[in-house]
Every structure is written in structure tokens, then in C-alpha cells.
């Protein structure tokens, strides 16, 4: 597979490490959320057959975490974003 890194251009997916569903960005606040919320965050997945937003880490590159939108049936990649930007857009900022 080839991932079009938003900064570095097309890179072989072998340079990256895969983590999983991009909802892992949405970590609850440990001071307010309890075990149930963390359980759902950490363990349960939509696991769709189709479009999937997922986290990849450019370990043999610039160390960016990326959110890659990829179809899990065809492997077609339609969007690649810096995870930091996604996290900010989801309100994970001051």
C-alpha cells in the first residue's frame, strides 16, 4: 500500500506502524469518566466493512501520526490527515 503523507508525499505503507480506529483519539477524561466509558473507548469497535478512519504512525519517517481514511474492502485510500489536526478539530485542545 501507499500512503500519501500530507507533508512528505507518497510513502510505502511499510514505513508506517498501524494502530487502529481513529476513535482512539477520543480518549475520555480520566478524572470525570469511569470504567464503563474507558471500556467502550478502549475495547469496542465499529469495525466497518467499508470506509474506515484509522491511525498510522510514520515510524520510519517524520514520526507523524496520521489519520488515514481507507476502505477496508478495497484498501482504497481517499484521505490522509495529520492526526494532530484531526485531534484539534475534534476539540482536543485548550
Amino acid at each position: 500500500m501507499i500512503i500519501h503523507h500530507p507533508i512528505l508525499g507518497p510513502r510505502d505503507a511499510q514505513e508506517f506502524v498501524y494502530l487502529g480506529d481513529a476513535t482512539l483519539i477520543d480518549r475520555p477524561d480520566g478524572m470525570t469518566a469511569g470504567v464503563e466509558a474507558f471500556h467502550d473507548y478502549l475495547y469496542n469497535r465499529d469495525n466497518p466493512a467499508g470506509e474506515h478512519r484509522e491511525l498510522w504512525y510514520h515510524e520510519q519517517g517524520d514520526r507523524s501520526w496520521l489519520v488515514v481514511t481507507r476502505n477496508t474492502v478495497t484498501h482504497e485510500i481517499t484521505k490522509v490527515e495529520l492526526a494532530r489536526d484531526v485531534a484539534r478539530a475534534r476539540g482536543r485542545t485548550k
Binding site: 505503507a13 487502529g20 480506529d21 478502549l42 469497535r45 469495525n47 477496508t72 474492502v73 484498501h75
Partner: protein
């Protein structure tokens, strides 16, 4: 029709005219007591044991493609019970014991062959871990041996002993481990279930679930609605897709696992072997092909095909371990969808919907579990109680922190 050597000879002498269909192709009835979704190994075994061991009737298996077309038809055929943790080992040992009597039980030669499995050890830490594991296995009634380097060398003198990056130091062996002719498992269960009146319905995809007041009433299928008192889902690989019909999210991701077979070769490897310093395990089939595999590709996928880096990684492991196979040719690769669970262990449990039961999360270890999975799932379906060897395989173990994490990798499915 009972199969035997005499029957084979008699049929041969009379032009094979007497062989009957191995299963019927019944039209679905309007309602069943039990519907098993998924005509792979686990689904067929469940139906077989429901009928045979738990005396149940009015059972149907719904398969969206062909019988045995799940991962039972696409795996590296290994059976073993060399697990570490209390939640797992009794279950897999139960499974191995069922394998040991399976062919006589369902009168079909699925070539259960206990030629032994060895896990090679390359570091002191691996030896310590193998000692812990081997002792746990024996304490659970399984068999285990720790082989030293010379004993391994006597078995396979042509492995890389003298020029290895990670030298072989020892091996953990389970003599009762081995291989099984995988398709024949599906066919044997299917035939046994069919003979006991189970309707095996192929080309019948479940497209929805009818749930009323928190209770399952039946399933919508590509061949119409079929009513059921109880529905058991055994569709590992597609668990999330099917259970989404019931509105459930699962602690499971679907990943692709590739496996490989070489051209047919004269005997080279008798048993099963796993490399401890890379991603490679191998056995040789009765037809002569080396059957081998390695790691999953590592990303969510339903594509049933993999990519090149893993093929190369597996070949590198193979060559590092067995430098003599450089000119042996890889014949075929294939990819299957794995239900990768959050702790690497399966789930056999009720759901929040009355009458709906779930069996999945087998990661890439489902084949060896087939008999016990079928038995335990049948037990749960028939009695509403988990089988004694499967009590740990609950959905709520993640909420309660009773995780069964053999590899110690945590909630990251692609590392299990």
C-alpha cells in the same frame, strides 16, 4: 451411509455408483428452534453437537456461500493445546481430546495426525516462558516436553544451527499437537449434522435480524425471513458485520492473515514447527506441500487478500530457519479475514438480546478450536449455561478486567 474401507472397495468394484450425496440441499423451513449463522467449521460443529450431544432438533445452518468456505477452508491446519492461561488451556485441551476421537465420532477421515509441534526457543527468556507454559499445560492435563538443542537437531539436522542470527537453543514440544485435513473437518461435521436432520442451507446470507422486545424472532436472509427461537452466530471474520444487524459493537477488529503453500515435495518436515525469532511456522501436508504462515498484515481489512511485505517477511523467517529451502517454490498465497479480539482470546457468550448467542473473536487460532467451540457453543445454546471449559470467554471480561491475554499485548488486536 456409513463409510469404511470395505465400502470403498465394494464401491470401487461396482463403479462407484452407490455413493450418496454427502449432504442434502434442503429449502429453508419457515421456522427452526435453532439457527446457526455461518456454515464454517464452528457453525457446522455447533449444529452437529446440538443434534448429537444435546438431543436438539429443528436446527438450520445458514451459510452465505458454500459449506466450509470460512476460515476452516483456509488455514494452516494446526491443532495443539499449548496455551498458557487458565482461561484458555482447559478449553483447548478439551478441543484436542475431541480431535483425538473425531473421525470415529463422525465417521469421516479428516486425517487428524498428531505428529507433534515444536516451538523453537532462541533466548533464555523464551526458555523461561516455555517452562512456565509447559508446566501450565501439564497441570491442565495436556502434554509438554522441553527439548534441548541436541534433541531438536536430531529431529531436524538441516535447520540453521551453525550460522543463525538467533541460534536455536531449545524447543517446547507438544507431542499430541499436529495437523488435520481442514476441509474434511467441515465436510465431516456437515455430513454428520445432515444425517441427524440439520438443514444445511448454502447461498443464504443473513441480511438482518428480527428483534422484538429484546428478544430474537428470526433472521432476514437472501432467501427470505426464517424464524427461530434461538440464533447462534458463528461467523468469525465477519462477526462485526453480522452482529451490527443486532445493533452490537464488538471488541473485535477484522484483519487479514495470509498463509502459504509450496509446491509438493518429498518428505522434509514430519511435524509442526514454529520459529521463535521471526514470523514463521510450517508443517508439511500429506500431499507434500509445505504449509506455512506468519504474522497478520496488521491493518483492518475485509479484502481476503494481503500485501507483499508480509509475504517477504514470512519468507525471510523461513530462510533464516531453513536455509535449504531457497529453491523450494512458493506456490500459492491466500488471505482470510480474522476476528482479532482485544485480548487475543475468543468469545462464546449470550448477548444482551434474549435468544441471540455469539461465538467469535478467534483471532488466527480458530481452526484448532473447532470441536470444542462447537461443543461449547451447542452447550450454551441448549442449556443457557457456558460449558465448563469456556467460562472465561465472556463479553464482560473486558469491563471487569478479566482479560485473557496470552501474548501480553493489551487492547491492540493486530499484536495478538
Amino acid at each position: 451411509m456409513r463409510y469404511s474401507g470395505f465400502r470403498v472397495i465394494a464401491e470401487a468394484l461396482t463403479g462407484h455408483k452407490g455413493w450418496k450425496p454427502v449432504w442434502r440441499d434442503p429449502a429453508p423451513q419457515a421456522e427452526y428452534d435453532y439457527i446457526i449463522v455461518g456454515g464454517g467449521g464452528h457453525g457446522l460443529a455447533t449444529a452437529y453437537y446440538l443434534a448429537k450431544e444435546f438431543g436438539q432438533a429443528r436446527i438450520a445452518v445458514l451459510e452465505k456461500g458454500y459449506l466450509g468456505g470460512g476460515n476452516v477452508g483456509r488455514n494452516t491446519t494446526i491443532i495443539r493445546s499449548n496455551y498458557l492461561l487458565d482461561g484458555n488451556e482447559p478449553f483447548y485441551e478439551f478441543s484436542l481430546k475431541l480431535w483425538e476421537g473425531l473421525e470415529q465420532d463422525f465417521n469421516y477421515n479428516s486425517m487428524v495426525s498428531q505428529r507433534g509441534i515444536i516451538n523453537l526457543i532462541h533466548t533464555d527468556a523464551q526458555r523461561d516462558a516455555a517452562t512456565r507454559r509447559g508446566n501450565a499445560m501439564i497441570m491442565h492435563g495436556a502434554d509438554a516436553r522441553l527439548l534441548n538443542r541436541d534433541e531438536v537437531r536430531a529431529m531436524y539436522p538441516w535447520l540453521n544451527f551453525d550460522n543463525a542470527r538467533f541460534p536455536i537453543k531449545a524447543a517446547l514440544m507438544q507431542p499430541r499437537g499436529g495437523t488435520v485435513r481442514h476441509d474434511a473437518v467441515a465436510w465431516g461435521y456437515a455430513r454428520g449434522a445432515d444425517q441427524r436432520g440439520v438443514d444445511l442451507i448454502q447461498n443464504c446470507e443473513v441480511t438482518g435480524m428480527r428483534i422484538e422486545n429484546g428478544r430474537i424472532r428470526g433472521v432476514e436472509t437472501s432467501r427470505g425471513f426464517i424464524g427461530a427461537k434461538k440464533v447462534g452466530v458463528a461467523v468469525a471474520g465477519s462477526s462485526s458485520k453480522v452482529m451490527a444487524h443486532a445493533g452490537m459493537r464488538l471488541p473485535i477488529e477484522s484483519h487479514v492473515l495470509q498463509a502459504f503453500v509450496s509446491e509438493g515435495l518429498k518428505p522434509l518436515i514430519d511435524g509442526v514447527m514454529t520459529f521463535g525469532a521471526g514470523h514463521f511456522y510450517v508443517s508439511q501436508s500429506d500431499k507434500g506441500g509445505l504449509v506455512f504462515g506468519g504474522d497478520i498484515d496488521g491493518y483492518n481489512s475485509y479484502a481476503q487478500r494481503g500485501n507483499l511485505p508480509v509475504i517477504e517477511d514470512v519468507a525471510e523467517g523461513g530462510m533464516a530457519l531453513m536455509p535449504a529451502i531457497g529453491r523450494v517454490r512458493l506456490l500459492r498465497t491466500w488471505g482470510g479475514i480474522m476476528d482479532m479480539s482485544m485480548d487475543g482470546s475468543p468469545i462464546i457468550d449470550k448477548t444482551g438480546i434474549e435468544g441471540l448467542y455469539f461465538n467469535g473473536g478467534w483471532c488466527y487460532g480458530g481452526f484448532k478450536a473447532t470441536p470444542a467451540s462447537g461443543w461449547a457453543f451447542a452447550h450454551l445454546l441448549a442449556k443457557d449455561e457456558p460449558h465448563k471449559t469456556a467460562t472465561a470467554y465472556r463479553f464482560d471480561r473486558f469491563l471487569k478486567g478479566r482479560i485473557i491475554d496470552e501474548k501480553g499485548q493489551g487492547a491492540q488486536p493486530n499484536l495478538h
